[in-house]
Amino acid sequence: MRIKEDVISTIAQVLDVEKEKLEVDKSLYDSVGVDSTEMVEIRIALKKKLGVELLDREITNRQPLNQIIEIIEKKLNANS
């Protein structure tokens, strides 16, 4: 739960949008129009905030936010 909140607040901060606008069952593109360059910013911010290394194709602006959260949770749990 904590990871989910951290991911959402990190993404909201990068995009300068309210957290409520990030709908977990929608992609970042569909909910707030995230482009590929913003995805680079998001990946870097998630690495700095959560210590999770994400490859370019691992998370994209076209997959549901839920999936992104799951991927990050799995990576962090595997590391811990």
């Binding site: 300068d16 949008v17 360059t37 910013e41 870097i44 690495k47």
Partner: protein, 410 residues
Amino acid sequence: MLEIAITGLGVVSPCGLKKETFWANLKKCQSFVDEIKRFDASGYPSRIAGQVHQLDAYSPISSRLIKRIDIFSHMALVASSEAIADANLNLELINKERVGVFMGNALGGWLFAETELRDLYIEGREGISPYMASAWFPAAPQGQITIYYGFKGYSKTVVADRASSALAIWYGAKAIRDKKVDFVLAGGMEAPITPYALLCANTYGGLSKNNLKPKEAYRPFDLYRDGFVLGEGSGVVILEDIKSAQARGKRPYAFIRGIGFSCDGFHYCRASLDTKALEFAINECLVDSKFSKEEIDYICLDAEGTVIADALEATALKNVFRENLEKISLSAPKSMFGNLLGAQTALDLIVTVLSMQNSLVLPTINFEQKDPYCNIQPTPNRAVNREIKKALIIARGRGGINVVLGVEKF
């Protein structure tokens, strides 16, 4: 032949945003130049400038986008939105594939680049914003305007030092004349008040060093001139064929009638002491615009403010117009707010169009003592009532780029 009408004006300048404020402040005939306090400029030989205030207060741009663009794009977006509103252009009713954007600037956007490159060197590749790649380069504002509004027509950015926006406006007019687009947003933007850009401008050496009296520093054609003062901002005009304006019920301000251009072909930085190339550009503009020398009411001067450049401009005008020059009003209203480099002609055009509308010639301020080598009267210090029907705007870029635009009142 299509007639290229100017139907909207948008301005972001040191003496105001929105054309009404801009004009009201210009009519005060006072200087808007101040000491630079945005960063520590105390070590710079020239540390004064015309600076834009309250950009955010007038900006319709989201903070999410502002974080990703340089301030020169931000200023261009604000000027564009003003111009579109002023032209009563309903974007829902026009074909966006037939709208072009033609912009000019000399330097690109340095504020974003300077801070991000610092972070790159300190933190490594993850310290830099990925938007650095698209924020700094000269075509960035043109791209941001087209993306923001969804314009998909033929568009270009011109980099030609202080003649950048003069050429951009002309290429925009030509795109309409060639029927490539129906509407054009044309103009320029410049944001040189940053630590590195100011350093470059100082290295060039054309800037006034009268730091103790900023408001008296930019004094073109005056005997004690010592260079120009930098300014920042953006000017954007809406261009369309007169029939398009009439069909929309929009009364145009003026027409772009023609252009003259030439290169000195002399030195990478200095202008030629021989004024023939500038004279050629003025004459070519008169021919292209179908203006006779006797018809010209007003000339908006390049007014670099350096000892040599002003003398050369005055000489070229004397040689072209001879006895007619005394009947023509000449001035450099930019002496009030600074020289916006690549964006300057866009502001000169807006000033000229507003002067036509108000039948008022704005002055060259700080003109106190005539220089025998600049034997012209540049409308000193006070505005003069005069109907302006036909006007020329002179823009000269570093290295001897000469551009002259011909403008006629509607």
